[in-house]
């Protein structure tokens, strides 16, 4: 189970992502409405993954990514964006985001991008599964 921080100024989008994240068996450890809130919450909740809106009041998602990457160089951040924001997606990736998801958000899209982000994670989990315990021998 992954700990996920959701950053979006839109309540309806946060609700949608929360529903899907919980359905996928992960835990929502925090929500933020602005980039600055995301930075403030990040350190205290130490999430495994952040879903980050790009266009927000106060501080946009790209600036928030830059700040979070300074706090944690291993942060895993996925941008959630609408069509037509390709330039901003590129800037986000340059800033350290590991991927992006185009709206509308669906169970399948979110599951896929989380899977891609945690290939290494799931692989090592599987390795543990494959290890034989003394009882198995």
């Amino acid at each position: 189970m992954l700990k996920i921080l959701i950053v979006d100024d839109s309540l309806i989008i946060r609700k949608k992502i929360i529903t899907i994240v919980e359905k996928l068996g992960h835990e929502v450890v925090g929500q933020a409405k602005t980039g600055q809130e995301a930075i403030d919450i990040y350190e205290s909740v130490q999430p495994d993954l952040v879903t980050m809106d790009i266009t927000m009041p106060d501080m946009d998602g790209i600036t928030a990514v830059k700040h979070i990457m300074k706090i944690d160089t291993n942060a895993k951040i996925i941008m959630v964006t609408s069509h037509g924001q390709e330039d901003m997606v590129i800037d986000s990736i340059k800033a350290g985001a590991i991927g992006y998801m185009l709206k509308p958000i669906t169970d399948e899209k979110l599951a896929e991008i989380i899977g891609e982000a945690f290939l290494e994670y799931t692989y090592s989990e599987n390795e543990d599964d494959l290890e034989l315990s003394d009882d198995d021998l």
Partner: protein
């Protein structure tokens, strides 16, 4: 051209993503002002193409959109207004995002502002060097208007 893009993407969004059939679309190419309905949101598009896009819903249309976005889940009364604002913002954001690549003379480095909700205005008047192009879209669930306030020479 800008209005054509907005109408096309609105049609696709409402019919395909929201499952709401459109009954009629009335265009207005050079309005003096915008008459706003109960719930309005606007987004600024920056860069070479400097414009403001405004979407305005009547109550019944917005109620239907909230129902679709919430996928049947109940809305708590204390969250109702924020949910409505949020849905209005998401709708305009999505339509602009889809229409943007088809806008003429958009250039590079296009920026989109976060959606702004307008609650108490009843109309917006154009500046002398600007032009308002609008489409009034009628559905079974009510009406919405989609308008762009643009420089006079940018509407082609």
């Amino acid at each position: 051209m800008i209005l054509d893009s907005l109408i096309l993407q609105s049609k696709l969004f409402f019919t395909e993503d929201m499952g709401i059939e459109i009954d009629d679309i009335a265009r207005e190419e050079d309005s003096v002002d915008l008459n706003l309905k109960s719930h309005t949101a606007m987004i600024g598009v920056g860069g070479e193409l400097n414009m403001m896009v405004v979407i305005s819903f009547d109550d019944t249309m917005l109620d239907k959109l909230v129902e679709v976005f919430m996928e049947g889940e109940d809305v708590a009364s204390e969250e109702e207004e924020e949910i409505k604002e949020s849905v209005t913002g998401e709708v305009i954001n999505t339509i602009i995002g889809l229409a943007l690549p088809t806008f003429p003379k958009r250039g590079k480095g296009v920026t989109i502002t976060p959606p702004i909700s307008i609650n108490d205005a009843s109309n917006i008047k154009k500046h002398k060097d600007s032009k308002i192009v609008s489409a009034n879209i009628r559905t079974h669930f009510g009406e919405l208007s989609m308008s762009a306030i643009i420089a006079k020479d940018a509407s082609k």
